[in-house]
């Protein structure tokens, strides 16, 4: 507009006479500088994603190789038989468990002396001994085959190392040295021949094993009480089922082919759905995230189960019920709890809480609690209790905020209709702030699932899916967690190894899990805002 005026009026108010850099005024420069800083959080988030992927992505290629050699070197073949033998071991274990129960019954309930009770169990012992010995031919076969397969695998790995060495020499320009590196070519078909040749021997051993088991089962002793006899019957049924699987195993062995391709997605599914995390093993490494994931989940669930009632209850109390003086006292105290470093809590768990809980579980009058008594002082429960203390301040603060945001008018209207405070809280205030409370709980979950030091120190660090058949008692078992495994193993692994990359993949799972939880919490809050305004 001004350009149409006379030149004299243009200079009035014109911004052209200001200092400029690259066509930007000073203010624009400053603005750009601050904007750049604001972008940093975006950049960091992107970098986190990028570097987790960068270090982790090769995992799939390596795991694919890992799985392929598992098949080609015949390890898979051997594992079929090994599983069969391991299943038998599990049955033997349940048998010895049954013996302990029977002995307890005889000595404690029937008050017989120990020697006499043992004598009474002589028949049982003979049966159990025969049952456990029956597997011997199969077991020796497995150990022979294990050696053979390991040998093939070692050859293959050595060849791989040589190849790597040659590549490095070539890359360094040392062609002559590279030529001198001998790389053995592995002919899997030839190598596997002796392994596969044992099939008739297996059939024979298996036959003998089955006959022996059936013969033993016929001699099964009867047990003194109906309850124990019921367990014995269950054991028999299990054994029958076990025997029924034999033909299937044999069929699998017959049709096994080392050339059967390993599908590319197996490297992925073996990680996501793999039920075993086994590293640095002489036989075969497995990188399945499920035991770690379940561990993290169990610990978090226990923590939330404790933290939600306490945190939300405290928030309601402070926001609606407590006097002003109490509020002034409680709020900073809870804030203070949130400042306790997690490693100190972890130390407290190791030094005090673990033992205290174990001592508590030993009281006979508490033996009705599922899982009590337990002997592992570091377990899901110990870690869960401490994590609950970590989660309470988060849940408390956010839930209190949500309660605070409920318009006063709601409360006043309810009072005016003659409702008392409890009715107002339960029927008006909590429902109105429900989504805020839920998102507080979700953020508490995020805090707990990402916590490292407490679970590393207090969860027991046993890498196995806890035994859910124990019912609620499962919480007294030790587990390992996703965060814990990274912290524990990252310092020790070889850079670039499959194990190293697997840990980054676990980190990636953790990262996306926390993003998901965060996203969910935000969505819930946003919906809540819309419904109020």
């Amino acid at each position: 507009m001004a350009s149409s005026s006379t030149p004299t009026t243009i200079s009035f108010l014109s911004r052209k006479n200001r200092f400029r850099l690259f066509g930007l005024t000073l203010d624009d420069c400053i603005r750009t500088f601050f904007g750049g800083n604001a972008l940093i959080s975006v950049v960091v988030l992107a970098l986190i994603t990028f570097f987790l992927f960068k270090e982790g992505a090769h995992f799939f290629a390596q795991n694919d190789r890992n799985l392929r050699i598992y098949r080609q070197a015949g390890l898979e073949y051997v594992d079929f038989i090994r599983t069969q033998s391991d299943d038998h071991t599990a049955l033997t274990r349940s048998l010895s468990d049954l013996r302990v129960r029977t002995l307890n019954e005889l000595t404690q309930k029937q008050n017989r002396p120990l020697a006499e009770a043992n004598a009474a169990l002589a028949g049982f012992d003979a049966f159990a001994g025969q049952f456990s010995d029956a597997v011997d031919p199969l077991r020796s076969l497995v150990s022979d085959l294990t050696e053979q397969a390991t040998e093939i695998k070692t050859k293959f790995i050595v060849a791989g190392d040589k190849q790597e060495e040659r590549n490095q020499l070539l890359a360094a320009g040392k062609t002559a040295e590279a030529g001198r590196v001998q790389i053995a070519v592995i002919n899997f078909q030839e190598e596997l021949k002796p392994l596969l040749a044992t099939l008739p021997a297996y059939r024979e051993a298996n036959q003998a094993f089955a006959t022996q088991l059936k013969a033993v089962m016929a001699t099964a002793p009867t047990l003194p009480t109906p309850e124990l006899q019921g367990r014995m019957d269950k054991f028999k049924a299990h054994t029958r089922d076990y025997l029924a699987t034999f033909p299937a195993v044999e069929h699998k062995l017959e049709t096994w082919d080392y050339l059967k391709p390993v599908p590319f997605w197996q490297a992925f599914t073996a990680f996501i759905f793999g039920r075993e995390w086994l590293t640095a093993s002489f036989w075969q490494d497995w990188y399945g995230v499920i035991p770690l994931f379940v561990g993290s989940l169990m610990v978090s669930l226990v923590a939330l189960l404790l933290a939600v009632p306490l945190g939300v209850g405290a928030a309601i109390y402070v926001n609606q019920i407590a006097s002003l003086g109490e509020q002034r006292f409680i709020k900073p105290c809870i804030e203070f709890i949130s400042a306790i470093p997690s490693v100190v809590l972890g130390f407290f768990g190791i030094a005090v809480l673990g033992q205290a809980l174990r001592a508590l579980s030993q009281f006979t009058w508490l033996s009705w609690v599922p899982g009590f008594p337990f002997s592992e002082r570091l377990n899901i429960l110990t870690a869960g209790c401490l994590l609950a203390l970590l989660a309470v301040p988060t849940i408390f603060t956010l839930a209190e905020d949500a309660l605070n945001n409920v318009p006063r008018a709601f409360k006043e209207a309810s009072f005016a209709l003659g409702a008392n405070r409890l009715q107002t809280i339960i029927q008006i205030i909590v429902p109105a702030s429900l989504s805020g409370i839920i998102s507080a709980i979700l953020l508490g979950l995020g805090r707990v699932i990402g916590e490292t030091m407490v679970v590393l120190l207090c969860a027991g660090n046993r890498i196995a899916i806890p035994d859910f058949t124990a019912g609620l008692g499962v919480v007294t078992q030790p587990v390992h967690t996703m965060t814990g495994i990274i912290a524990q193993e990252m310092g020790e692994v070889v850079r670039g190894s499959i194990h190293y990359r697997a840990l980054f993949m676990v980190g990636l799972v953790l990262f996306f899990l926390s993003l998901g939880i965060n996203y969910l919490a935000q969505r819930i809050v946003r919906r809540y805002r819309l419904s109020i305004g």
Binding site: M1, A2, S3, S5, T8, T9, F12, L13, S14, R15
Partner: protein, 289 residues
């Protein structure tokens, strides 16, 4: 003002009569009214203004004369504050605002043009807000804030401006002994006059007042009104007010707004005594609003 002077020399060339320079002299020569009543300082033509999708101003055409107090009245939400904030582009600070159509010219310069320096504009078009907003600094620093921004550092010069502005704002006698006390320690009316003094200190040509007395008690209001009366000898004042008596007392011309439209614009006397529009009459006689 030192920096603005050469520029105002330019602008003055486009109007026939030279206005008194906004320097020391102008304040000294209070009561001087050499400018003719017909000089148009602000010229708004066919202005449409939007907050996001909703239109706040419809086709406003209004001329504000120099050295006069112009009052904008009307019920809440009628757009009078919006129009006021258009004049120094304070609406830029609010998200989603835009001008749909029309022009606002100050001394024939379109202030929404591409090459307008908003900073320079705001130096020349000062503003006093509804809620007094002294900075949490001393009285002295509050008044010299604008000058210091422009690089004035000489103590003598600053001292002089402080005294002159405070005198002009009729606050000097009350605060001269505690210039270095916090501005927040003053009473509500004093705070508002401090804000006026602060606005005067940068020597704007126009002072916009957005309901300056709405938070004040009657005595403080009276003082501010008196002040407005004196200020208009040197400044062009545009004042938004809810209080019709106030408009009647201190303005020369009055514009009545309703629902984002300018209903009537005339001499204040006319508006209150003999309004041309029935809506205006209903409003000024207190039948609605």
């Amino acid at each position: 003002m030192v920096i603005a002077d050469p520029l105002s020399m330019d602008t003055r060339s486009s109007v026939p009569t030279p206005r008194p320079t906004m320097g020391t002299s102008s304040l000294a020569t209070a009561g001087d009214s050499s400018a003719p009543a017909s000089e148009i300082l602000i010229d708004i033509e066919h202005l449409d203004f939007f907050y996001g999708a909703s239109q706040a101003l419809h086709d406003i055409t209004l001329q504000v004369e120099a050295k006069k107090a112009t009052a904008l009245i009307g019920p809440s939400g009628c757009g009078k504050s919006t129009l006021l904030r258009c004049l120094n582009r304070m609406n830029d600070l609010i998200d989603g605002t835009r001008i749909g159509r029309g022009t606002i010219k100050i001394r024939d310069v379109e202030i929404n043009g591409r090459d307008i320096d908003v900073i320079e504009l705001r130096k020349r078009v000062g503003m006093v807000f509804q809620k007094s907003n002294p900075f949490p600094k001393s009285i002295y620093e509050n008044i010299t804030y604008g000058l210091r921004l422009q690089g004035v550092k000489t103590k003598a010069q600053l001292d002089e401006v402080v005294e002159r502005s405070l005198r002009a704002a009729a606050l000097w006698d009350e605060v001269k002994d505690r210039l270095h006390a916090s501005g927040l320690g003053l009473s509500g009316g004093q705070q508002q006059r401090l804000c006026i003094a602060r606005a005067i200190a940068v020597e704007p040509e126009i002072i916009l007042m957005d309901e300056p007395c709405s938070a004040l008690d009657p005595i403080a209001t009276a003082k501010v009104e008196e002040l407005i009366h004196e200020l208009k000898t040197n400044f062009t004042i545009v004042i938004v007010t809810h209080n019709m008596q106030q408009a009647a007392r201190c303005s020369d011309r009055t514009a009545f707004f309703y629902m984002g439209r300018l209903v009537e614009y005339a001499e204040t006397r006319t508006i209150f005594m003999n309004p041309g529009n029935p809506q205006t009459e209903a409003y000024v006689s207190g039948r609605f609003g």
